[in-house]
């Protein structure tokens, strides 16, 4: 009923090839966007904007980045957090050192520097595969964080390697309230998510998937693996870099290289595994799951038990429940949360006459 497509005819190639071929999807997307752009800034409290929504959006962007590389191009990477660090420190240095550098250009340049570093560390992917490649990207993770601490130039000679993001200003408008920062983050993430969605449907995206599924076969049909792999590394690192810049500018304000640790890389990897490998929507679902669940558990524990339970036990119990839920979801649906939605949608499209 909800998804009845009767009467939706596609009369041109353009209509057939649009991002959302089903009208209900288009309406749904418009409603979701309207909700997040218009209703949320008016309704949500500062806590929700600053502590929940902004980080979820930023991690979604990082997860999209990793999903492009791991989910679409099939290259396992453990360096996402390091590429975020390059983006954050890159944007900081561009804005600091070039007078009058517009914020968005700074973020873009930060993303591009992350892309360049990503390509450099992606070179081994031409020769090594799978888990061995993961180890090679691990080198990126350690090297980049080490370099940012080692060379004081990156942090403008701060004694502890910490950078403080400058004030965000676009065309004279200062983004200093949680609402404005949220809208800025949302706008950038929305645009980049649509770009990613389109990219994976394009020639580039199809060549990534071909390389992922079988690189020898891909080569035989005329796809250059080097180009496909390195472009995946570049695009993926660009997304992570922009996410890192937003992490520094719209979320924390002050970041240290140690904040971009291996731990964060793993968290981003878990996001795409939980959300759905090879799915843009999955990146959002996974980021929301990994960021929000521990917080809800913590709040829930306080609400239910109050001070009746020792804090140490409550904290450990949260971790146990969190881990348990991850295992539960992976057993119930190994392809991630996005796959659950996909199945539901397929059923809805046939309903009420499943064959």
């Amino acid at each position: 009923m909800l998804y009845r497509e009767a009467g939706q005819f596609k009369a041109s190639y353009q209509e057939d090839q649009q991002i959302f071929p089903i009208r209900q999807d288009r309406i749904g997307m418009a409603v979701i966007l309207a909700f997040f752009f218009l209703a949320v800034p008016m309704l949500a409290s500062q806590y929700w904007l600053q502590a929940i929504l902004i980080p979820v959006l930023i991690f979604s962007l990082a997860a999209i980045g990793l999903n492009i590389l791991t989910g679409y191009a099939g290259q396992l990477s453990l360096g996402s957090a390091a590429f975020m660090a390059v983006g954050a420190f890159g944007a900081y240095n561009f804005i600091l050192r070039i007078d009058g550098m517009p914020f968005l250009v700074g973020v873009l340049l930060g993303g591009l520097s992350a892309a360049a570093v990503g390509v450099a560390f992606g070179l081994p992917s031409l020769r090594i595969k799978g888990f061995y490649l993961a180890v090679a990207t691990l080198a990126a993770q350690f090297f980049i964080v080490w370099a940012l601490v080692k060379f004081p130039w990156f942090s403008n000679n701060s004694s502890s390697g910490v950078i403080t993001a400058q004030q965000i200003e676009i065309l004279g408008f200062a983004f200093n309230t949680p609402e404005s920062k949220y809208l800025l983050t949302l706008a950038i993430v929305t645009v980049l998510a649509f770009v990613a969605k389109n990219l994976v449907r394009s020639t580039t995206g199809r060549s990534w998937m071909a390389v992922r599924d079988m690189d020898v076969a891909a080569e035989v049909i005329g796809i250059r693996p080097m180009r496909a792999k390195l472009s995946a590394f570049a695009v993926s690192s660009f997304y992570c870099g922009v996410a890192g810049a937003l992490y520094a500018y719209t979320y924390l304000g002050t970041v240290e290289p140690e904040g971009f640790s291996l731990d964060l890389s793993f968290r981003i990897l878990f996001m795409i595994i939980i959300g759905g490998v090879g799915s843009i929507m999955g990146s959002f679902l996974g980021a929301a799951f990994i960021v929000l669940l521990p917080i809800f558990l913590n709040v829930g524990m306080h609400a239910v038990f109050g001070s009746a339970m020792p804090a140490g036990m409550a904290s450990n119990l949260e971790l146990i429940i969190f881990g348990g839920l991850i295992i539960f979801f992976l057993i119930v649906e190994p392809h991630g949360l996005a796959r659950l939605w996909q199945l539901a949608k397929d059923k809805l499209r046939l309903w009420p006459f499943p064959h």
Binding site: A51, P55, V149, S159, V162, T164, T254, E258, D263, A311
Partner: protein
């Protein structure tokens, strides 16, 4: 029906939450604690001590001038993003909002450094955090109290000078600096270089990569160059490993001097016999033999209400450090009440004034039952550090023994560096420093 039910439950929960805070004479303190993760056991001791002290003040005195202290913990897992979430979650709780934010993590400190000024909540970082925030003219909302990393490094050098029989004897000596290769470890470099130049000793800096559970190469290097002393600027597992490897390579442990994050029972007990003779700095001492700890025992634990599950850890270095956090927080609230009205809950802004005018002289410390437990402390508008003194303790194989009096840092030198660094920050951020002569 279902919707109605959900709405009803939601309304009930909201109502419960609202009534919970209805009692007005309460001072809320948000605790961004960590009890799991890599530093979970440290967090459990520290926040345990702090909570026990506040529970003791509630039980013994009925709160601060009749205002009960209330608190809520929020698990940060020592993770910056979770820390920010906790900060936002706690900041509007209680009748007057969160009184003070003390995350016990330098990373989280940096993440909320700019938010606290907007939200008007004092940020107190005792023995960690941003060193140059000690310049209260540039950082009115941040209090890196008692002693910063730079003061500590300077105090350790002064202690080595004392042991060698005078600062002039340091000339030509060689001091090794075994540091955790991170922002935290590198924090020591600038000041140590300055001190080496001033006193004419030689520094050998040796990095240990995180987490530091393999240090054979570093200690062989130390054995070759034979420094007179080694300063251990370590963290977590690195400390015990350093002591064990030193024993293996035959470097005398009483020549190793640890910083305060290297000098707790959590560092020495895992090292076993190898830790015997090791000396570490601390801005509080270990031991349960102080009136303040005895009060906690009799007022809280005697009624089965203590926070620590392992009661053997009461009186440990980190537990006592938590008590110091409690004392400073409660005394700042008391100071604020003296100005803004006794028996009333204070806002963050008023408590900031309380911190800035905090004066824990020896008389006050005696009244608190903490003579010798922590150094005396006087904060002012200009100086948010207020003291910079540490004591040195030696591990005798089973417990820490105090081996020095309070050792001062080279205050003019450290203060000069702090002002220089704070001025650079102010310039970068376009902050005009406050004029302290106009503050009341």
């Amino acid at each position: 029906m279902k919707l109605k039910q959900t709405a009803l439950i939601g309304a009930t929960i909201a109502g419960l939450l609202a009534t919970g805070y209805a009692a007005a004479q309460e001072q809320f303190i948000g605790l961004p604690s960590y009890r799991v993760g890599p530093f979970g056991s440290n967090g459990a001791s520290l926040y345990g001590g702090w909570i026990d002290y506040m529970a003791m003040v509630n039980a013994r005195d009925g709160g601060v001038n009749g205002v009960k202290l209330t608190w809520e913990e929020c698990e940060t897992e020592y993770n910056n993003a979770r820390g920010v979430e906790c900060y936002e979650r706690l900041k509007n709780k209680g009748p007057t909002g969160n009184s003070v934010f003390q995350p016990l993590s330098t990373g989280i400190t940096y993440s909320v450094l700019e938010k606290v000024a907007q939200d008007k909540i004092p940020l107190v970082t005792i023995g960690y955090g941003r060193t140059d925030a000690a310049d209260g003219r540039v950082f009115p909302w941040v209090f890196p109290m008692i002693t910063t990393y730079w003061s500590q490094a300077s105090a350790i050098v002064n202690y080595i000078g004392q042991k060698s029989g005078g600062m002039d004897k340091l000339k030509g000596k060689k001091i090794g600096l075994l540091y955790h290769d991170s922002a935290y470890g590198k924090e020591s470099h600038a000041i140590i270089d300055k001190l080496a130049e001033k006193h004419g000793f030689e520094v050998q800096k040796i990095a240990v990569a995180n987490p530091g559970n393999e240090q054979q190469a570093q200690w062989l290097q130390i054995r070759q160059s034979k420094p007179d002393y080694v300063i251990l600027w370590g963290w977590g597992v690195m400390n015990a490993t350093a002591l064990r490897t030193a024993a293996k390579t035959g470097y005398s442990r009483d020549k190793i001097i640890g910083v305060w994050w290297s000098g707790s029972e959590e560092d020495t007990i895992p090292a076993g016999d190898a830790a015997k003779g090791y000396v570490a700095a601390g801005f509080n001492v270990a031991g349960a033999n102080y009136p303040v700890i005895k009060d906690i025992q009799s007022q809280v634990y005697a009624k089965n209400a203590g926070n620590m599950e392992d009661k053997n850890r009461i009186g440990s270095v980190l537990y006592n450090r938590g008590v110091v956090h409690g004392i400073i927080t409660v005394e700042a609230i008391r100071t604020a009440q003296e100005k803004y009205g006794k028996g009333k809950p204070m806002t963050g802004e008023q408590i900031r004034w309380g911190f800035e005018n905090l004066n824990l002289d020896s008389q006050r410390l005696a009244a608190l039952g903490a003579t010798g437990f922590m150094p005396d402390l006087k904060i002012s508008c200009e100086d948010h550090e207020g003291g910079g003194k540490v004591k040195f303790q030696q591990w005798d194989g089973t417990q820490w023994k105090v081996v020095s009096d309070w050792v001062e840092a080279d205050r003019p030198l450290v203060r000069g560096m702090i002002e220089e660094s704070a001025a650079a920050y102010a310039k970068e951020k376009g902050i005009t420093p406050r004029d302290c002569s106009k503050e009341s």
